[in-house]
């Protein structure tokens, strides 16, 4: 693996770790048998800068960035999921 590929892999692993920590901290509220996850020292950048910033970006923008940055798989056909109409609640018959 080249240095750049190794750096990308390390960055992805760290980013995923901290995004997951943030998610579990929010979701564990109201789940009595859970524990406070262990907090490492020196995670300030990830916790205070990266995670809040990432959370503010809408999902479609994130997806576009991931594609542009070639973070998504190449050489694969995306799954065929028929385009759907936005769902609307059923209307009562007139």
């Amino acid at each position: 693996m080249s240095d750049l590929a190794e750096l990308k892999a390390r960055l992805r692993a760290r980013a995923e770790h901290h995004l997951r920590l943030d998610a579990v901290r929010r979701l564990r509220r109201g789940a009595p048998s859970t524990f406070e996850p262990y907090r490492e020292r020196g995670d300030g950048f990830w916790r205070l800068v990266f995670v809040p910033l990432y959370r503010r970006i809408p999902w479609p923008v994130k997806q576009r960035v991931m594609q542009t940055a070639r973070m998504t798989a190449r050489g694969w056909t995306p799954p065929r999921r028929e385009p759907g109409e936005p769902w609307r609640p059923p209307r009562p018959r007139s």
Binding site: M1, A5, K8, A9, R12, E16, L19, R20, D22, A23, V24, R25, R26, L27, R28, A31, P32, S33, T34, F35, E36, P37, Y38, Y54, R55, I57, W59, K62, Q63, M66, Q67, M71, T72, A73, R74, G75, W76, T77, P78, P79, R80, R81, E82, G84, E85, P86, W87, R88, P89, P90
Partner: protein, 452 residues
């Protein structure tokens, strides 16, 4: 002249690629190299032998080396491949070069070694090789207390089974609940309850700081952020990392997860070289982001895809929706694609549909509650993930939901799905349909409020 296929690795992906390629094209000379003395056994069954749910290790063997030889494969057991030279088309094993026309790399995974003092002590056990498991099982008879490190799927199985065997088990993980990388906290609750009933002490939110040894060089305790845990042995159930060193040294492209990057035919970036199983990464069906460390069923299907391509037949492996399931303690859990935890971590928007049904007719003996949680896209209501827990039928529901999501099914589709009603095997109301109906009702009320 017949072509020679070399397969490196004798796990699920390697044996699938070798046997299917040979079956499809009998003229092919197929050689399998594996560093282990055994082949075609199920390592996934090991925790259940330790827990005495399965009587003996021999039951885990599905075939023999001789059987593969009878099928025409050249089996090189206990033979590690140390080098791949793609320019010359050779591999090196036992200081001998062997030529190939086509190559499959199915070198599997290894466990991440804990980066703390004492990680080389005796008494730290990794669950992988069946012979090491047999030795460990004998030693367990004389043990009283074991620490299981890592609340991964394997960790949960080992902790639950060692507890079932009557050992005192401390189950340590930095995360807030069991399987917190995939499982949602509401589903973790019954898992914790079941493990605790089996005598497992949960020590989550706890970091392993060192393994402490005695004068004999054997582990005697684990130092953690919450104090010292005396033990007779430690079972390390850390993350699985791809064994991609050989591939990397040969110049084969490695992806962002550290696994070999392949296309939908399991081809690497080098001509006539395929890869499959735990050593590769494949895209997730929803995000198209590469993921790795999937199941034996995935490995087998990937090996099969590679075999088809090797013999010139058209086969394509789809991005994955990852149906998964397991027994945690005495409780069955499962899911597909994303749960709430992962969806929130990645930032994928979703709406929820939840419901509880029964696995058989309510009056039929053995009926169990089945909990279903579905995640769907907020606008189209297409399924994007879910988790199912309870008793029987979890696996089948997760398999079905993963397939339904892959084909673009919506909550509306699930709410109106047909289902089998037969008292011993299925209730009148299907739990998945109940969840979807509940979700639609809640959404209709919510959106009605917005429009009025």
């Amino acid at each position: 002249m017949s072509q020679r296929l070399i397969v490196i690795g004798g796990g699920g992906a390697g044996t699938a690629a070798a046997t299917i390629a040979k079956r499809l094209d009998p003229s092919l000379t197929v050689t399998v190299f594996t560093e282990f003395p055994d082949i075609a056994y199920s390592p996934c069954g090991i925790p259940f032998v330790h827990g005495r749910e399965i009587p003996k290790f021999e039951d885990l063997f599905l075939s023999t080396v001789d059987r593969y030889r009878e099928d025409g494969l050249d089996m090189r057991m206990e033979t590690a491949v140390t080098d791949i030279d793609l320019d010359r088309g050779t591999i090196t094993a036992r200081n001998t070069h062997e030529g190939f026309d086509k190559l499959v790399i199915a070198t599997g995974f290894h466990y991440e070694k804990p980066d703390v003092p004492g990680a080389n002590l005796d008494g730290l056990h990794y669950v992988k090789d069946i012979r090491a498991a047999m030795e460990f099982d004998k030693a367990l008879d004389a043990m009283k207390r074991v620490v299981v490190c890592g609340a991964t799927p394997l960790g949960v199985e080992m902790a639950g089974n060692l507890g079932h065997r009557g050992l005192e088990v401390d189950f340590v993980d930095e995360g807030p609940w069991a399987l917190s990388e995939v499982l949602d906290p509401d589903v973790a609750e019954p898992v914790h309850e079941s493990l605790t009933k089996r005598g497992v002490t949960l020590r989550f939110g706890t970091k392993v700081e060192a393994f402490l040894g005695g004068d004999d060089g054997r582990v005697r305790a684990v130092a953690t952020s919450a104090g010292e845990l005396p033990c007779d042995a430690v079972v390390v159930c850390s993350n699985k990392l791809p064994n991609a060193t050989l591939a990397k040294a040969a110049g084969i492209e490695i992806g962002t997860t550290g696994g070999i990057a392949v296309d939908e035919r399991m081809r690497t970036n080098k001509p006539n070289v395929w890869a499959a199983g735990d050593v590769i990464e494949v895209p997730h069906g929803l995000t198209m982001l590469p993921v790795r460390g999937l199941t034996g069923a995935h490995a087998y299907a990937q090996g099969r895809t590679a075999a088809f391509d090797i013999v010139g037949r058209d086969a394509v492996y789809d991005p994955v929706w990852i149906p998964w399931g397991m027994v945690a303690g005495d409780y069955t859990i499962g899911g597909f694609s994303l749960g709430e935890t992962l969806a929130q971590a990645i930032g994928v928007p979703y709406v929820l549909a939840t419901g509880v049904g029964v696995s058989r007719a309510r009056y039929y003996p053995g009926a169990q509650r089945t909990h279903v949680k579905l995640l769907a896209e907020p606008d189209t209501l297409k399924l994007i993930g879910g988790q199912v827990h309870g008793g029987e039928g979890v696996k089948e529901r997760c398999d079905f939901l993963a397939f339904a999501a892959k084909r673009g099914a919506t909550l509306e589709d699930i709410a109106w799905m047909e289902n089998i009603y037969s008292p011993p095997i299925g209730a009148l109301f299907e739990p998945m349909a109940i969840a979807a109906q509940n979700g639609l009702t809640a959404l209709a009320a919510e959106r009605e409020q917005v429009t009025t």
